[in-house]
């Protein structure tokens, strides 16, 4: 399975993501530099975390104008699974592929801690191996993680089942404790927490299995397509 890991100036979770995709889940990842075209043979794309362009202007907004994002939009329309983690989520939101915006955490602090998610939508390519409401112990590491949508958009997200993950308690002031959402078709998913930092027992003191299911869901989805 060919997975593109998009690298922007300031990405810093790209190698962790590459390692987990290749060494843990035996996929075939490749780095894709932001100003080059996206390779054509990809089964999935991941936008990893980091601080693209130093979060200047607003987290993710400058990277959202990168040439490669035009290609990401094209393959998103084709239904190819796309996952944005942390800064990758911010970039997907700022590029218009996902609704909403990520604001500074209510505390104004950079938050680096373990959270618990609940799975709200188990139909996406990254959650199809979960039970609904299943818990995921997973770390966050961000300064701008407060997901915000206006009331009207929030109702739409609920109606169209676009809320994928919620925190099980108030973490950073996100609308309805939302930690991850998807597009209407469900193939583009963005989440603030870091599954690549939680999918191995060596680095997860709680339980690495739930985070592993995010990657195993992708394997199941692509396997089903092939």
């Amino acid at each position: 399975m060919n997975v593109g890991v998009i690298v922007f100036p300031g990405s810093n979770c790209d190698r962790d993501m590459f390692h987990v995709l290749s060494d843990v889940f035996h996929m075939t990842p490749q780095y894709c530099w932001h100003d080059k075209p996206l390779p054509e043979n990809l089964d999935a794309v991941v936008l990893p975390g980091g601080f693209s362009y130093g979060d200047r202007l607003r987290a993710g907004v400058i990277a959202a104008h990168s040439p490669i994002i035009q290609d990401v939009k094209k393959i998103a329309e084709k239904g190819i699974p796309i996952l944005g983690v942390c800064n990758g989520f911010q970039i997907l939101v700022e590029s218009g592929l996902l609704p909403g915006v990520l604001l500074k955490n209510d505390s104004l602090n950079f938050m680096c801690e373990w959270t618990n998610l609940t799975v709200e939508n188990n139909k996406t390519p990254f959650t199809n191996k979960f039970e609904l409401n299943e818990k995921i112990p997973i770390p966050i590491a961000n300064g701008d993680g407060r997901y915000f949508v206006d009331d009207e958009t929030l109702k739409q997200l609920e109606r169209k089942n676009q809320i994928v993950f919620k925190y099980d308690q108030v973490v950073n002031g996100s609308s309805n404790q939302i930690a991850g959402v998807c597009n209407e078709d469900g193939n583009v998913v963005g989440m603030m927490p870091h599954p690549e930092r939680a999918a191995e027992p060596e680095i997860n003191p709680h339980d690495n299995k739930p985070s592993s299911l995010i990657f195993e869901s992708l394997l199941k989805k692509i396997g089903a397509n092939n």
Binding site: V61, H65, E94, V101
Partner: protein
């Protein structure tokens, strides 16, 4: 053609929480002797210098740039644009 300075102020829409503004108000200003202050909103300002035919066209060009490049996110922010002679 002339040079104009155009100031773009980006701030949260009313009703969207501004924890930094609240902290400045509650933990700095109101802890001092300035009890007449009731609200502080933080904002980001970008100062453009642009060559255009008039102050008005300078202003509208900058607004166009802001909208095209998502300089502000219209879901959460509003912009105020002011133009001045350079």
């Amino acid at each position: 053609m002339g040079d104009y300075r155009v100031h773009v102020t980006i701030e949260n829409k009313p009703g969207i929480s501004d924890p930094e503004g609240k902290t400045i108000l509650n933990d700095l200003v109101l802890k001092g002797t300035h009890q007449s202050v009731s609200k502080i909103n933080t904002a980001k300002m970008l100062k453009f210098t642009i060559t255009e035919n008039s102050k008005e066209s300078a202003k509208s060009k900058v607004k166009e740039i802001c909208d095209e490049l998502r300089i502000y996110n219209s879901m959460v922010s509003v912009v105020t644009i002011d133009a001045f002679d350079a």
